[in-house]
């Protein structure tokens, strides 16, 4: 399908709206749905799909980052430190995107979709996160004053927490940044578990800090894609606007639906997309 015409923009916008709604309901940017949809349904070359998706990831991240600030849950010092890792990763990812075959990208995407489905499955099964372990003091965390506290909504008090294994966290952020720029996703799916298990952050802090960081990783990669002409405005603009609107609607819908049914639906969708992307790669349709 040629990337021109009002009909195209409208359809892409509607698709992004749907992806944004999904993302909003799951608390993530819709990139993980947008790229497969653009490549599988709209025949957009994967680099352009990634470029467009990154723009929408940035757009959606502005809202969630602002909320992360206003709720005082994000650890900004930790975030800026980790961003050294994610931006280096993003640069690596963009460099790799020039040499990695599209079919390999499809397969990587498929893997990320499977990981997301698995995480969602774990959440549905395990209910609340397993008991938090007390993070041991970390030299970097102490030196840089990363340990902080967050306001607990229920008790109204500030709950202190420590940050552990900062260097491991940096390494994981590097990987997340590379995945983000290669696949056009926000990588919250990789960042949040990393912060949760490696850094030992309370889950609310992990999510908020990850949301805060997503925009910078996206911008680092999107800028390069743009300069290389891989951001097509006629695709990127409707994707960004559709995702924004969808994310807003998604969070509203989320308030009124049962989580279990939503999760089951999404696990199915993620698995379906994973299979489709994988098959496309194998059959040489990339």
């Amino acid at each position: 399908m040629a990337s021109d015409g009002l009909a195209f923009s409208l359809l892409v916008g509607l698709m992004s709206l749907g992806a944004g709604v999904f993302g909003g309901m799951l608390g993530m940017a819709g990139g993980i749905f947008v790229v497969p949809a653009l490549t599988l349904a709209f025949d957009v070359p994967i680099h352009q799909a990634v470029g467009a998706s990154l723009i929408s990831v940035i757009a959606c991240s502005c809202g969630s980052a602002a909320s992360a600030m206003e709720s005082h849950l994000a650890n900004v010092r930790l975030a800026i430190l980790l961003e050294v890792g994610t931006t280096l990763g993003a640069l690596t990812g963009v460099a790799l995107s020039g040499v990695i075959a599209p079919s390999v990208l499809y397969i990587l995407f498929s893997a990320v979709l499977l990981v997301s489905a698995y995480q969602m499955f774990q959440k549905a099964r395990g209910g609340e996160h397993a008991e938090r372990w007390e993070a041991p003091p970390d030299r970097w965390a102490e030196a840089l004053r990363l340990n902080s506290s967050y306001p607990d909504a229920r008790s109204g008090r500030e709950v202190p927490y420590r940050v552990a294994r900062v260097r491991l966290g940096m390494a994981l952020m590097y990987v997340a940044g590379a995945a983000s720029s290669l696949l056009g996703i926000g990588s919250g799916v990789l960042k949040v578990p990393a912060m949760d298990s490696a850094l030992g952050l309370p889950i609310k802090v992990s999510s908020a800090t990850s949301n805060f960081m997503i925009g910078v990783t996206g911008a680092a990669s999107a800028g390069i894609y743009y300069v290389r002409g891989e951001v097509v405005p006629e695709i990127a603009a409707p994707v960004a606007l559709g995702s924004l609107l969808g994310a807003y609607l998604g969070t509203m819908i989320l308030a009124r639906t049962s989580s279990e049914r939503v999760r089951a639906l999404f696990i199915t969708v993620l698995l379906g997309l994973a299979v489709k992307m994988f098959l496309t790669a194998i059959q040489g349709g990339a």
Partner: protein, 115 residues
């Protein structure tokens, strides 16, 4: 274990408020340019106006997209300035490092594109 003291927390709160405002309003402004670009492209795509309308809508879209890409970078820049003002030079330097990495990426991308 060190919890941020009163002063430290106040500074953090102030930074959070400024950054939140930048991101929210910036996203809205960028969104407006995108809507403008798409609307102009949709409405102005007629016969005789074709050339001018297309260029204008493309320009609006470009502004919106570039603005979106710039926003998180501005956010980091703002953090660097605020850290410096509060004499937290370590974190000002860390923020500067992030900016340099991003800038390096853009520069390499431009070089690559020109080849």
């Amino acid at each position: 274990m060190n919890m941020p003291g009163g002063d430290d927390q106040r500074r953090l709160r102030r930074m959070e408020a400024i950054l939140a405002a930048l991101l929210r309003y910036g996203a809205i402004v960028a969104g407006v340019w995108l809507v403008l670009g798409l609307a102009w492209g949709a409405l102005g795509g007629g016969a005789s106006m074709a050339g001018g309308a297309e260029a204008f809508s493309d320009r609006c879209l470009a502004i919106g997209i570039v603005l979106l890409i710039a926003l998180p970078v501005l956010r980091v820049g703002l953090m660097m300035i605020i850290f410096a003002i509060e004499k937290d030079y370590r974190f000002a330097a860390i923020s500067a490092t992030v900016l340099i990495i991003i800038g390096l990426g853009f520069a390499l991308g431009v070089v690559d594109a020109l080849r």
